[in-house]
């Protein structure tokens, strides 16, 4: 069965995924909205930066984050490296495309017309955003939240680089599996891996059921 250490790693993983998803949605929504509506010609530069984690080895991302977040980093001697919140920062960057892209697609799909109609019905832009754009973009939010969560669950390289392997603080499930395999504890690795597999599968099934039409992340 799951050892207390494994349970601790799983709990930490779920907590990391939950916190990161909330932050991703809060950051990703305005960013996706802006990308969906801006006429700025160079917006592809921003889109490329957001898409980078899709192609970059996580260790590269983790390495730069380590430099940035460490005691001598550009973040002004922050002490985020090797802490839970350091992991959150890493996860947010690492999973950003999985949240921004579905949201951007959803907002483009909603289009300007419903917002124009809302404006002709005494609705201020802010209220139209909440009462029209967000409800109409619901499939995008479901996809974004679930992909963001699932992708953070599976994070390994970034965590290894900036979080290390501190039980209860930065030792997430994927690291725990790696440890078990290193120590030839295949039975333990199996259980933990199966738990992650089932969680991920169930969440993707949920996306399919809730949205029917599932738009994958594009590159």
């Amino acid at each position: 069965m799951l050892t207390p250490d494994d349970i601790e790693a799983l709990t930490l993983t779920l907590k990391l995924a939950a916190v990161s998803t909330v932050i991703l949605l809060l950051l990703g929504t305005p960013l996706a909205w802006w990308l969906a509506h801006t006429r700025w010609r160079a917006k592809f530069l921003i889109e490329s930066v957001i898409a980078l984690p899709l192609v970059l080895p996580p260790t590269v991302l983790g390495f730069y984050l380590l430099l940035a977040l460490g005691p001598n980093g550009i973040a002004g001697g922050s002490t985020l490296a090797f802490t839970f919140f350091g992991l959150v920062v890493g996860s947010v960057i690492y999973s950003l495309p999985f949240v921004v892209q579905p949201l951007q697609d959803a907002f483009i799909n909603v289009g300007r017309r419903p917002l124009e109609i809302a404006a002709t019905l005494r609705t201020s832009p802010i209220r139209a955003f909440f009462s029209v754009a967000i409800p109409l973009a619901r499939p995008g939010f479901i996809t974004a939240a679930i992909l963001g969560f699932a992708h953070t669950l599976g994070e390994f390289g970034v965590v290894l680089m900036i979080g290390g392997n501190i039980p209860g603080k930065t030792r997430v499930a994927s690291i725990a599996i790696y440890d078990h395999v290193e120590s030839l504890e295949y039975a333990q690795a199996h259980i933990l891996a199966a738990v992650l597999l089932v969680i991920s599968f169930v969440m993707l099934v949920a996306v399919f059921i809730l949205n029917r039409r599932f738009r994958t992340v594009r590159l």
């Binding site: 017309r113 419903p114 124009e116 109609i117 809302a118 404006a119 002709t120 019905l121 005494r122 609705t123 201020s124 832009p125 209220r127 139209a128 009462s131 029209v132 409800p135 109409l136 619901r138």
Partner: protein, 355 residues
């Protein structure tokens, strides 16, 4: 109080430059071919597009001038686009009351109920937009625009995306709206049929400029405008219903130029009926024909004429201030020796009752 507009802007390769003062009641049709700037004009009036240097004033309130621009959501207007674009996440009643809710107006009021009655939406209120037909969706869109108590209603080709059958389903509702509405309505369309059935005033646009504006009856009678071209050439005659004859199934309508006898239709004595008389249904005789099956014959005077194609000539006729067009062959025009000023008889083979 009326609607005053001044625009001078470029958009998407088209330019719009016009100055207009529009009636503060009834329906004003904004008519023109595609690319003539009708929709741009409507969007500019609504404030959906912001063009510097424009001027919009409605009922004495300035919506836009050099100094300020009232945002769309603060303008007391209602808009219906070609596509109904209902909010798919809301049911029909929620759609209808959306604007009231946003504006903080009381819900479930009598006006809303009567709008729902007028547009026959009672049975649809708890349905979802996805389950409605195109015509029903457009009626809901109209109700949604009306419930916010607009002071100006803007309709942008509201029937253009519907097939003929659906159009004919909605037109009666628009006619009812026309009768009952106390606010000015601007109706963008490229359909002369809709203009003849609904509008009181019209503005003809071409290339972003006003070619003509005035009453619909007056503009239809002008040979130089598009309405006076080809086989659509027709005039409108506003008449009053004076008699129904059950024996022959006929109704008599009177206008300043004389009586029209038409197939009996359902209308109260004294009510107004508008006839559309196509030039192709009017012929001219030098003497009054007695042995003819044609019921509607009028004493008229030739006002003007204009060749149409190689074989035809369009003749405009006046009967006591009312205008008629007759489409004749050039051969008969010349054989009958017709000229402006000449008094002749116009035989009207058929008329269309448009409103």
């Amino acid at each position: 109080m009326s609607i005053e507009l001044r625009f001078d802007f470029q958009q998407g390769g088209f330019s719009t430059k016009l100055e207009l003062e529009l009636a503060s009641n009834g329906i004003t049709a904004i008519f023109g071919p595609s690319g003539s700037g009708k929709t741009s004009l409507l969007r500019a009036i609504a404030g959906l597009d912001h063009h510097q240097g424009s001027f919009v004033s409605v009922s004495g309130i300035i919506w836009q001038d050099g100094n300020h621009f009232v945002p769309v959501h603060k303008r007391p207007l209602g808009v219906v686009f070609q596509q109904a674009s209902l909010f798919s996440h809301l049911d029909i009643m929620e759609n209808i009351e959306f604007g009231r809710k946003q504006a903080g107006l009381p819900m479930g009021n009598n006006e809303t109920s009567s709008i729902i009655e007028m547009l026959d939406l009672r049975n649809l209120l708890h349905r979802r937009p996805a389950n409605l037909s195109g015509g029903e969706l457009q009626r809901v869109a109209l109700a949604r625009a009306l419930t916010v108590e607009p002071e100006l209603l803007l309709l942008d080709e509201p029937l253009a995306s519907l097939d003929e059958k659906r159009k004919n389903e909605i037109l009666p509702y628009l006619e009812t709206l026309h009768r009952e509405s106390k606010i000015p309505i601007l109706y963008v369309t490229h359909s002369l049929n809709e203009v003849s059935r609904l509008a009181d005033q019209m503005v003809v646009l071409e290339g972003g400029e006003v070619v003509a504006s005035g009453t619909v009856v007056e503009l239809f009678s002008r040979m130089d405008l598009v309405m006076g071209q080809d086989d659509q050439a027709s005039t409108l005659v506003d008449t009053e219903v004076v008699k129904h004859d059950d024996r022959f199934g006929l109704s008599t309508l009177v206008c300043s130029g004389g009586d029209f006898t038409v197939a009996k239709f359902d209308a109260a004595i004294g009510s107004v009926a508008r006839l559309r008389v196509f030039a192709r249904d009017v012929s001219v005789t030098l003497s009054r024909q007695m042995d003819t099956s044609i019921q509607n014959i009028f004493d008229v005077k030739i006002v003007d004429f204009k060749p149409q194609g190689t074989a035809h000539v369009l003749v405009s006729l006046d009967f006591s201030g009312q205008a008629l067009f007759a489409r004749l062959t050039q051969k008969s025009f010349s054989e009958l020796d017709l000229n402006p000023g000449k008094k002749v008889f116009a035989q009207v083979k058929s008329v269309a009752l448009v409103a």
